[in-house]
């Protein structure tokens, strides 16, 4: 077993080569809706049972189902109203089950990246070839459904195995979201030296931990997200920061919470030095303009 992921070098927050964003923005702000399907009767995985209750877990299944029937549509409208695009963390089987959702995402100019096939099919215990086959199939599905290239990856339920990041790089993925180690993009070291970067995702301002695990009421959620933004906006004057707002339609799309999303987006878009980006745009900009400088600085021992 590994003691550490081994995918990145220590990069102290101060003294880093400066990151700049387009148009003098201090912060790249991106929203990652997790559009998922949890299966009614999924197969077991030795490391994690898909449902806490015996199948059918009606409360768990139907709660998630709410997101695709009701929550997504409400959430997408609020984002569109604020001119904020999504970068969809997509269980790609959604393309087959609910093509209307994917059509709506494309109509709004959203990016689609892969969050695996279903949120109930974990990567735990897969061989490298099995992982590779899923990644390739996911790429084909996203291309077929949207014409987009699959550039980003978040392993379903963040169930990545030891080798997953290496395989992502070998399969030509541009950016991974499986690591939570930074507020800026960073290089990811891979065994074959293929390029892969990490861009910030979040489990701090992610609505699942906030609403489900930390028992946060909607107004506190908005306050936490705004505080996160304010500090990263302030620090971004020195070197460009990234804030990701990961959301789940079955949670944020509920009637009692939807106004909180609007409040956060109103706050963010009320600032002028914000780059409203997608994951792909952030990764590309970082790769094109800053990756080499970061790698050189790491090679010099981060002086």
């Amino acid at each position: 077993m590994l003691k550490t992921p081994g995918h990145y070098d220590f990069m102290p927050w101060r003294r880093r080569p400066r990151i700049t964003w387009p148009n003098g923005a201090r912060i790249a702000f991106w929203v990652a809706p997790n559009i998922e399907h949890y299966e009614y009767d999924p197969p077991p995985n030795a490391r994690r049972m898909p449902w806490p209750r015996p199948v059918p877990d009606v409360s768990g299944y139907s709660w998630r189902d709410y997101g695709n029937r009701a929550g997504f549509w409400r959430m997408a409208d609020v984002m569109a109203r604020h001119g904020v695009r999504g970068s969809v963390s997509l269980n790609v089987a959604v393309c087959d089950h609910y093509p209307e959702i994917v059509e709506r995402c494309c109509e709004l100019g959203w990016e689609l990246f892969s969050h695996g096939t279903y949120n109930t099919r974990y990567f735990y215990g897969m061989t490298e070839e099995q992982q590779r086959a899923v990644i390739r199939e996911n790429r084909e599905t996203i291309l077929r459904a949207s014409g987009q290239s699959m550039d980003g990856w978040l392993t379903p339920a963040i169930s990545n195995d030891e080798t997953t990041q290496h395989i992502l790089a070998e399969e030509g993925i541009l950016y991974t979201l499986d690591l939570l180690h930074d507020d800026q993009p960073t290089p990811i070291r891979t065994r074959g030296g293929q390029r892969l970067v990490s861009i910030p995702y979040s489990l701090e301002v992610n609505d699942v931990p906030l609403f489900v695990m930390r028992n946060t009421p909607p107004d506190r959620y908005a306050a936490i997200c705004k505080a996160q933004f304010d500090l990263l906006y302030e620090e971004g004057a020195e070197s460009g920061t990234v804030m990701c707002l990961p959301i789940h339609p079955y949670l944020i799309g509920q009637p009692h919470r939807i106004a909180a999303l609007g409040e956060v987006l109103r706050h963010v878009t009320g600032h002028d030095k914000v780059w409203l980006a997608t994951g792909r745009e952030i990764a590309r900009h970082y790769i094109d303009h800053h990756l080499a400088a970061h790698e050189a600085w790491i090679a010099e021992g981060t002086p």
Partner: protein, 310 residues
């Protein structure tokens, strides 16, 4: 490394719509518009959980939310919950009745045997009686033998119908938990609506082997039991969340021209506490003050919705 078995990569249900046969996929904003009586934008449905939590209730394969939390015999947990059926529910009746707000009681059917006088008072309050299983010790789930499940539903139904007759039209699976066959047995027992599934804000048709049930929206995420008890939030957080839901649904009804439903899911042993009941009343006042509210029982909402389908 052997990896995962081949069938882990087989997706037999991957295709258009759902991965089961209970209902087709439906998109809320593209759903047929519904008009409530009097042109109300909001149908207010107050669902009151009159639950019975036996002290020896099983805690496996999972503990029902609100189930016994301390070692047997937990007089603490039992009596705290039983308080709701003695005291708290009467405060709710008063707070709702004085404002002309109707209710649906989701009743553990054993209470018809344990507390027949409470059943009389629920009838006098004009609340709709609905069946929430036998009690919280009889959870319907995938590990229950079919014969047992059929017997539980038959007994629960006879207990409540024995007291209320055909007024018992609704079924709520305790803890929002069901087996694969629960809806089939429930429909076979003559129920018209069910509220175990959490996937919509509006009713929809739910297919069973014994005919179609109407699935009624009863959120778990916005329920006092979850927020106040499981999540330890403050009373104000629950009230504010309900009012935020009302504001969002009201705006949606206005924008789409289709009525919406505000379901208020409350628990007598929680919301009926002296320190909370005035906040509950104030919440109802705020809901009513917004206007265009039709207070109705679950069956009344179901009938209004059904009449406008097909």
């Amino acid at each position: 490394m052997t990896g995962l078995p081949d069938d882990y990569f087989v997706y037999p249900k991957r295709g258009r719509g759902m991965d089961h046969d209970r209902y087709p996929y439906r998109i809320l904003p593209r759903t047929k518009a519904v008009q409530w009586p009097g042109g109300a934008r909001i149908a207010l449905w107050v669902a009151v959980h009159a639950g019975h939590f036996p002290m020896d209730m099983p805690l496996k394969p999972f503990t029902a939310p609100g189930g016994m939390e301390r070692p047997y015999p937990s007089f603490w947990d039992f009596t705290q919950r039983d308080y709701g059926n003695r005291i708290g529910i009467y405060r709710l009746m008063q707070a709702m009745g004085s404002r002309g707000v109707k209710g649906t009681a989701l009743i553990s059917a054993m209470l018809a045997r344990e507390y027949p006088v409470l059943m009389d008072d629920i009838a006098k309050a004009g609340w709709e009686p609905a069946c929430a299983g036998l009690d919280m010790a009889h959870l319907h789930h995938g590990g229950i033998a079919e014969a047992d499940e059929r017997a539980w539903i038959a007994l629960a139904t006879s207990l409540l119908r024995g007291r209320f007759g055909d007024a018992v039209q609704g079924w709520h699976s305790p803890a929002h938990s069901e087996s694969h066959r629960t809806p089939d047995i429930v429909a076979g027992a003559g129920y018209a609506w069910t509220s175990g599934w959490l996937n919509d804000d509006m009713p929809y048709a739910f297919a069973t082997e014994a005919g179609t049930l109407t699935a009624m929206p009863l959120p778990q995420d916005l329920a006092d039991q979850r927020m106040l008890h499981q999540q330890n939030m403050a009373t104000e957080d629950f009230v504010n969340a309900v009012l935020a839901a009302h504001a969002a649904l009201d705006a949606e009804a206005e924008a789409t021209g289709s009525g919406r439903i505000l379901t208020v899911s409350v628990t007598p042993w929680l919301m009926g506490q002296p320190h909370r009941i005035r906040a509950f009343g104030a919440m109802l006042d705020a809901i009513l003050a917004r206007g265009s509210v039709w207070s109705a029982t679950g069956s009344e909402i179901m009938q209004a919705w059904r009449a406008q389908q097909g």
